[in-house]
Amino acid sequence: MAVIRCPSCGKPNPEFLDLCQYCDQPLKDAVAGQPPAEGTIRKSLIIRCPNCDKPNPDFLETCQFCATPLKGGAPVAAPTPEAPAPAGESAEAELPDWLQALRGEAVASEGTFVPPASEATHDWEWTGDTGAAASPADDIPDWLKSLQADTTEAAPPPATPAAPAPLTPEPAEAVPDWLAEPAAAPAEPAGDLPDWLRTPTGPLAEAAEPAEAVPDWLPGPAAAPSEPAAPAEPAGDLPDWLKAATGPLPPAEPAPAKPADELPDWLSGGATPAAGDLPDWLKSATGPLGAAGAAAALEPATAGDLPDWLKSATGPLSESAAPPAGSPPSVSSTAASASPFALGADDEAAPALPAEGLPDWLQDLAPSESPAPSGPALSASAPLPAVLPGPEDEPDFLNDLRGTASPVAEEEQPDWLKSLGLPQEAEAPAPATAPLATSGEEEPDWMRALRAESAPSVEPGPAEPEPDWMADLRTTEPSDRSGPAVSPFAAGPAPAAPGTEEPDWLAALRPAAMPESRPASAPGAGADELAQGEMPSWLAAMRPVDIQQPALEPEVDEYQETVGVLAGMRGVLRAEPSVVLPGKSATQVHALAYAEGHVKQAELLAGMLLSDREAAPPAKRRAGLAAAPWERWLVSLILLLGLLVPPFVLQGLFPLPSTLPAETLAAFQALEAAPAGKPVLVAFDYEPSQAGELEPLAEALVGHAVRRGLPIVTLSTGLTGAGVAQETLTRLTVAEGYSETVTHLNLGYLPGGPLGLLQFARFPRLAFRADFAGRDFSAQGGLWAQPVLRGINSLDDFGLVIVISAAPDDARAWLEQTQGSATPLVLAVSAGTAPLVRSYYEAGSSGRLAGLVNGLAGAMQYQRQAGVYREVATETLQLRWEMVGSGLLTVALLLVLGNLFHGVRQALVRSAGRGRGRA
């Protein structure tokens, strides 16, 4: 592979690039692949920036941190791996976050891959020798956090003592810590290696670790005791293509450094482990890569799939010396073809690389010809033949590497690599030139893109435009997605099927391939474990907390209530928890105590309620008149006989009253006191039907007034009263020589009730404009121009007011509405009304009722007192008086007899009831 330094920025670029991947300047003008001096690998130096005092590779012309020209800076030797601590401290702040995170993990476990204990380990969970313990947790992606957790469990001691570096170690501050530790293993001086390249070298150093340091999950491929280093790559970290290759590696070259008992199971189990013990990736690898000729089968299949740069890398790597046995497998070896991150072991192949085909930093690797013990990490690239693309597809720098490595003799190969039995061309590890050319700070875009794509939780896609050659790789379809690699560290190409255009390791870079297949990280994991491992940790963290079992037992229908009114019932829902269910009281419930009286009352109440429920018997039909005609006829007959018989048979039985009541006397006196010149106003407020009682009163009072010669003016508040007044007035005045409109006049009907009375009392002229006959006397000056009405302007102008009424309301209305008048008022009322208006007379001086005459008896008394119509009145009134008297006596007898009869009948009914009750 050739590296072209950018004439503008001086940074290395693959030769197939037309433009600088850093500054987009044309590269064709530059001389491709300026190898270092022939036969010498330039010692990796670090030039400290005169401005920021930060280390920079010597090939940089400007500081990678502050862009200050570095030519004036003195190169400083890289620190030795034995002193990683200060280097880590000094360079820690200069590292990117993701590298710092990885670096922190390297403190505990360098180059180890520790799968989680409980769940399947993802292939991207490469603990690596990274670690920046000081990196904050918030800045670390999830997949890196998981790395931190896992690496703390397995921290094999570094193998730096077992892997002496042929080069002078660079100062510690020039190399980041995470790279400084593994840097001790390769022959290439660690100081020349960028940080990211030192990561894969860690496992190389661990290759010399005792077998105890190898985790258990690395049993399968290590079955061959002679080459423990080849399968040292953890299954989870190995890309598929490497897994496929490492699995079937023939145990041709036993690993000398590792005793079989110290090797992990997969290393010590045997060269051909049982198929059932092998993980899938290993099984798949053993198929095509059998001991018979895996290389022959893999080489043509993968050669054409490799990019140019990888092809160029495979060349020299294939010829490089095999790493010594015993060096632990490294992810770098697996990732050699997929990612330059894993090519830290190139330092072993570097000595065989031609100087002109390598960049400066790679040329520095070349002088380390001594096979480093940790070199087998690169030998893990033994599966490379399975995935390496064909020469035509390889990048130039890989071709260059291939070309330079080809001369490497087979004997220079490590045993474990020899044991693979792969062709030497295929054994070349992936070139690390590209990544080696840049430090962590100067990471090219295409590497960033790779890293971004490999991140499990990050959307793939480079932040910056990736190189064309990388884009081309990306566009190719994966031939097999059985071994996706999420992390660039763990990204391992799956064994490519023959004839496929795209290697699996490239397909694994595709994020879409992540969930489809995930190689079992723990060998021998069952299906359950695999299924369980399918759930990512971040998803498992979101898993809801297990629902706790309810404290109470679920209610069932078989529950039977034992207390309360629902006792004995099934299917009763418990309204409260069992802890508060009422228990059976210790006190016995006694029977209800009741007396005999209570029983009787209860029976009575029950009987009443029962009787209410019974349909009520139909009411007895009231007997019609025909049913009991005798009672009504009997009463009527008795009353009729009592009215008619005495007056005709027993005449004089009821003599006329001889006494004169005071109210009647007062009425007589009031009429006697009425002024002669003033007319007497007589109100006939009764109907013709009431004339039998009130007509005698009217005849007595009006006759008295006529006898005295007083003018008489009549009116009525009732419609029929005016006619009665007219008849009575006419009958009484004709004989006495009275002349209408002169001595008497009937005004007729006064409408309005109390209002009419009030109006008449104050404005009589407005109340009447015509007499009862409808005469307005317009020819004579009007009604009020008549002689009888002259001088009448109010009620006070009348000499006396006589009200003849059968209704108490009419009498009261006269009393109330005319109370302001000084004219005395005499009431002649019915016997039934007298008790209701008597109080007005009893009021004495506070009332204005001058006298009261009531009933037929009052009329008889008044006539007798007044001496009017004596004879006629006597005969008529005497007969009527006797009839009324006899009738009252008859009624009284009927009432008494009727009450007696009713009482006797009730007594008989009761006695009969008692008799039936006794019976």
């Binding site: 109390p754 016997a831 039934g832 009893e842 009839m883």
Partner: protein, 229 residues
């Protein structure tokens, strides 16, 4: 045939027809009642027309009333016309105006008259002198008449008022009884009330008998000459 005789015959017939109700509802009774109601209504209309409408609304208008009379006449006619609207629509809003006027004014007049003509005088009449008056004469009966009358009036009034005192006290068993002091007085008031109602009944009965006696006497006077009475 003289009109008096015809009138007497009609009167006798209608009286017998009304008295036939003693045997129950019958067509003769109904005929007499309907005839009476019809004649009474016709008589009332004639009286109202002759005594009220014509003289109060028409004759006055034709006689050339003065201005004050004309204003009153105009208001009267306005109210009359508004009241006639109820013949078209009983719920006529304009027709309510004269009705409201009549009802309101009538109620006011009735209440005012009741207060000043009944309540105050009757209350004042209750303050009676229970001591014998000097004008009663020298006999003992005359001396006691006033005090006894006043005492009866006082006791009757107070006891009647106490009777209508509806306060009570709860007894055992859920019964309610008058207080001990009120109960005997209310009993006396009950006697007075009973007596007053008896007097009213007696008066109504006496009036009814008087009406019957008058009718029987009229019949006898008509029939008597024919039967030799």
């Amino acid at each position: 045939m003289p009109l008096d005789f015809i009138g007497a015959v009609l009167g006798l017939t209608l009286t017998v027809a009304i008295l036939s109700y003693v045997i129950g509802d019958n067509p003769l009774y109904r005929l007499a009642v309907h005839l009476f109601i019809g004649v009474a209504a016709g008589y009332a209309v004639v009286v109202a027309l002759v005594n009220v409408i014509v003289p109060q609304l028409i004759l006055v208008l034709l006689s050339g009333p003065a201005l004050d009379e004309l204003i009153i006449l105009g208001l009267s006619w306005l109210l009359v016309l508004l009241l006639l609207l109820k013949l078209v629509n009983t719920q006529s809003a304009p027709g309510r105006l004269p009705v409201a006027y009549l009802v309101g004014l009538g109620a006011a007049v009735a209440v005012g008259g009741a207060v000043t003509g009944t309540l105050f005088p009757q209350t004042a009449a209750a303050f009676v002198n229970v001591l014998p008056s000097g004008s009663a004469g020298g006999d003992l009966l005359g001396l006691l008449e006033q005090p006894v009358s006043a005492l009866i009036l006082l006791v009757g009034t107070l006891s009647t008022l106490v009777f209508f005192w509806y306060g009570g006290r709860s007894l055992a068993g859920g019964q309610v009884d008058r207080p001990l002091l009120v109960k005997p007085v209310a009993r006396v008031g009950q006697i007075f009330i009973g007596t007053a109602l008896g007097v009213l009944y007696a008066g109504v009965l006496a009036a009814s008998l008087a009406y019957l006696a008058e009718r029987l006497g009229a019949l006898w006077q008509f029939i008597g000459p024919f039967v030799g009475g």
